[in-house]
Amino acid sequence: MTEIDVLYFAWVRERIGLPRERVTTGAATVAGLVAELAAREERYAAAFADISALRVALDQDLADFDAALDGVREVAFFPPMTGG
């Protein structure tokens, strides 16, 4: 098991109800972490219901949901970006 910081932005943050938390996980991949989080409570299940509507960053770089969590300290979940 490892400890990682999990961050949420925009409507993901609002749906889950917090901007960040420390999570202890044994998940090997982002998808594994998502499954653990979604199983926690309804608000998490709602936020992760459709991962095609989400993006993920590992240590502040965009990544895929099948990416490994080896050595990762910070995972962020958010909707597609709307800058500019």
Binding site: A10, Q60, D61, F78, P79, P80, M81, T82, G83, G84
Partner: protein, 146 residues
């Protein structure tokens, strides 16, 4: 090359003038200003959330990519976050190059990538509630141009 992510307003005229004055060896300077639309009077404010740390890193990476594709002598990106009123400046891009084609193309490229690859999220606050702005398919498709 300079990247600024800030809550404070910026002076587009002064920034553009300073950028152009410092653009030694450039024959072309292109600047772009993004402004909060008022949606026909329906918008009260725009709230822009971002991911501190990743935002600066992502924009620096986008600028570096542009500098690798076009012979830029300089580039500038300023992007605000926080609560903005209709008509306020959200962001600006400036590029300098020896010739205009590179300066225009690089500015266009920077805008396309800032829209879909820099971690900002816009929320529109209207008179009858607030709503997150959804990313548009055409914004993602625009990246395919490059």
């Amino acid at each position: 090359m300079r990247v600024a992510v800030q809550a404070e307003p910026f002076d587009y005229g002064a920034e553009s003038a300073a950028f152009a004055a410092a653009a030694e060896g450039a024959g072309a300077v292109v600047t772009f200003l993004g402004v909060v639309r008022d949606n026909g009077g329906a918008l009260r404010a725009m709230e822009i959330e971002h991911y501190p740390g990743m935002t600066e890193k992502a924009i620096a990476g986008i600028v570096e990519e542009a500098a690798g594709r076009w012979p830029l002598t300089d580039a500038l990106v300023i992007h605000r976050h926080g609560r903005l009123a209709p008509g306020e400046a959200i962001m600006m891009v400036a590029t300098a190059s020896r010739h205009r084609a590179a300066a225009f193309a690089a500015a266009d490229f920077l805008m396309d990538y800032l829209k879909s690859r820099a971690p900002f999220w816009k929320k529109e606050i209207g008179s009858d509630g607030a709503e997150w702005v959804a990313a548009k398919d055409e914004d993602e498709a625009a990246l395919g141009r490059w």
